[in-house]
Assembly symmetry: C2
Homo-oligomer: 231 residues x 2
C-alpha cells in the first residue's frame, strides 16, 4: 500500500479548498489539474497535506497559495469528509475550506503538483477526482446558507454597480430566480447602498441607476447581531 503523504506531514488528513469567484455574472469555481498519482490528469479542488507542526487553518492558506498562487484568502471551514472509500488505497480524511472572491483581484499560477489551474463555471464543471464533486456541492450549500446569514462582501462587485447586478450575484449563488421588485425593496431598506448621480449607459435597456456601497453603514450592518437576508 503506497503512502502518499510526504515526511513531516500527517498521514491521514488533507485539506481541499473550494474557491468560488463571481465574474462576468457567472459563479465560477477554481480547479486544478492533478499532475501526480493517484488520478493524475483529473480535475480537482486545490488541496494538499497538513504539516505535522502546522495549525489546520494555517495549512489551508499555505496549501491554497502553493497550488494556485492565491494569497491571504480568508476561508471558512465547511466540513470534513471521511468515508472509508473516498480515497484509493489509503485511508485519508479531508477537511474542506471555502471562500467567495473576486477573480479579477488575483493572478493565478499553477503549483508544483498541478499541470493547470483555472476558473470554471460551476454549471460546467467536469468530473472531479475522488469525492471532490461532493465537496463542491457541500461548499455550494454552505455558500447559499451564508449569503442568507450575512451581507455579501462588496469586493465582489465593481465599485459602481446596478441593482440588477447584485440580483444576478444572488441568483447565481442561490441558483434560483428571485422576485425583482421584492429584492430591490428589501435591499434598499438595508440602507447600505448610496445612489450615484450617474447612470449606467450603453445597454439595450433603459439606463439603470448606479450605486455604490456605503461602507460605514455596511460595516454597522455586519456587526449587528441577528442579521438575516430574507429575499
Amino acid at each position: 500500500m503506497p503512502r502518499y503523504s510526504p515526511e513531516g506531514s500527517l498521514p491521514c488528513i488533507t485539506i481541499d479548498c473550494t474557491i468560488f469567484g463571481f465574474d462576468n455574472f457567472a459563479l465560477k469555481v477554481l480547479l486544478v489539474k492533478r499532475d501526480i498519482e493517484p488520478q493524475k490528469g483529473m480535475w480537482a479542488l486545490p488541496g494538499g497535506w497538513v504539516g505535522d507542526r502546522e495549525d489546520l487553518d494555517d495549512a489551508a492558506r499555505r496549501i491554497l497559495e502553493e497550488a494556485t498562487n492565491l494569497k491571504d484568502i480568508y476561508m471558512d471551514q465547511v466540513k470534513t469528509f471521511g468515508r472509508v472509500d473516498r480515497f484509493p488505497d489509503n485511508r485519508i480524511l479531508t477537511v474542506s475550506y471555502a471562500a467567495l472572491i473576486n477573480p479579477l483581484s488575483h493572478r493565478l499560477q499553477q503549483g508544483p503538483e498541478v499541470s493547470d489551474v483555472k476558473w470554471m463555471d460551476v454549471k460546467e464543471v467536469p468530473p472531479l477526482t475522488f469525492d471532490h464533486g461532493e465537496i463542491l456541492q457541500a461548499s455550494l450549500n454552505h455558500l447559499k446558507q451564508q449569503v442568507r446569514m450575512e451581507p455579501i462582501s462588496f469586493e465582489l462587485l465593481p465599485a459602481k454597480f446596478t441593482i440588477p447586478q447584485i440580483l444576478g450575484l444572488y441568483e447565481s449563488i442561490l441558483d434560483t430566480k428571485l422576485d425583482r421588485r421584492n429584492f430591490r425593496k428589501k435591499l434598499l431598506r438595508m440602507n447600505i447602498l448610496e445612489k450615484l448621480e450617474e447612470k449606467q449607459t450603453g445597454g439595450a435597456h433603459r439606463a439603470a441607476d448606479l450605486y455604490r456601497f456605503d461602507r460605514a453603514n455596511y460595516e454597522r450592518l455586519i456587526e449587528e447581531e441577528g442579521f438575516v437576508y430574507d429575499f
Copy 2:
C-alpha cells in the same frame, strides 16, 4: 512520545460530541469525566477514536453510544479543530459533532473509559479538558444559527406546551431576551401550532393556553426551502 490511539484506529484524528439537552427550561450539555490519561479526572465532551475502516459519521454515532449509552442520535458535523498544541504530546485533530435532544427520552450509562456521565447546565460548565471549552462554544454558535434556519424539533417539548415554554427554549439557546409579543405573533403565523381546549393550570399566573404541534404542517414547513426564523 506515547501513542494514545489503539490498534485499528487512525492515529491522528478523534471525534468529540456536544450533545445539548433542553430540560426543565434550561439548556444543558452532556459531559463525561475522563477515566484515562492524559488529563484523567477532568470533565470532557464524550469522544473517541475513529476506526481505520469506519466511515466518519458512523464513528461519531458509535463513539457517543459507547461513552454515554445514547443511541441513534442524529448529529450535525460542526467543525474540525486542528491547532498544533490542542492535545499534549501527540498531534491529534478532532472532528466535532453536535445535537440537541430531549434528555428525558434517553437513559445515560457511562462507558469503559469514563468514570461519570451527566447533564450540566451550559451556564455552569466546569473547566473542560484540552480545547473542549472552545468546541462547546463553537457548537453553541452552530446551534444558535441552526434555530434561526430551521424549525426546532417538536420532540424537545412535552406533547402539550405553552407559548412561554417555546419562548424559553429559544431564549435559552440564543441566550437573549426576545420580545414576547413579537415572538408569539410570528410563531402563530407559521401555522404549526394547534390550540387545545384545555389550559395550563396550577401556575401562579393566569392559566396559559396549551398547544400541540400540527405535525403535518410542521413537516411541510421543514421541507419548504428558504425558511428563516426571524425572531
